[in-house]
Symmetry: C2
Subunit: 138 residues, 2 copies
DNA sequence: AAACAATATTTGTTACGACAAAAATATAAA
DNA sequence: TTTATATTTTTGTCGTAACAAATATTGTTT
């Protein structure tokens, strides 16, 4: 099989996944990127996160995290404080409002994900992941 | 296995693929999207393509094809003529310069694709594709 | 023909990714 | 201490995606 075909298939599937996720989030007025940043901040469990910490955990490392977080602050889902020990750094927290919002959305996303691949056998899901991890990006 | 893990893995792999392709194209001053439009136009083998034809064949159907093509016209890789029979339509052609350019880039992309998954067994490539096609986006 | 609907493309807006450069602060070296 | 270097975040710019609305043209109906 042509390598090109595999790549194109994967890119198309990714595109479809994105559409599904976007569509599910749309009624809630939040983008996938903002949603992911919120999830990262929730994962901190009250511990402050620096911008760089968030950035490391994001999929798109080159995105502009400052402005993504600006949007979340506008919505009062996130708070930004200047770090006392090192004033170059900032400290980011998810607010209560952000937590409530996120908890509301989680099942929506879970449902979309299950719809997309919930019918796959466990063995098949593991096979996809193991095959994808064999891709070489060195 | 968690469906979420499969989805996230796929999104991350797609991200890496994009980086590899982008990096390969960068020295040539062209984006993946522009490159793909050029390939679509080459596939026409001299037959004019309408904007809508190009759009149908693109992966990102919602992208702004008009402006993507504007960029290619600036580079003299594409020509745009208003269709005589139906002046709402436009006719798009890849130029000779565009063809030469594309032929120069093809092997570069092929090489990147081979580097990423050329080492996979034929059977494994087919397995990935067949598993990915089982995803449900209805 | 005039009005209306359908089709094809363009334009405008918002959000984000990629990336370079600037700004602010901290740390280390001379 | 002054200078240089490193770190962290912010800002600016461009390209593109998503999407709505506008425009132009054609086709259809009355």
């Amino acid at each position: 099989m042509d390598s090109k075909k595999v790549i194109i298939t994967l890119i198309k599937i990714n595109y479809e996944i994105n559409i599904q996720l976007m569509t599910a989030l749309k009624p809630y007025g939040i983008s996938i990127q903002q949603f992911n940043v919120l999830r990262i901040l929730r994962g901190q469990k009250g511990v402050a996160a620096n911008l760089s910490t968030v950035q490391e955990r994001m999929i798109n490392k080159m995105s502009n995290t400052t402005r993504l977080i600006d949007k979340l602050i506008e919505k009062s889902f996130v708070e930004r404080i200047i770090c006392k020990e090192n004033r170059r750094k900032i400290e980011l927290f998810i607010t209560n409002k952000g937590l409530v919002f996120l908890n509301q959305i989680d099942p929506v996303i879970d449902k979309v994900e299950e719809k997309m691949i919930g019918h796959l056998k466990n063995q098949d899901k593991e096979k996809v992941v193991s095959l994808l991890k064999q891709f070489d990006f060195s």
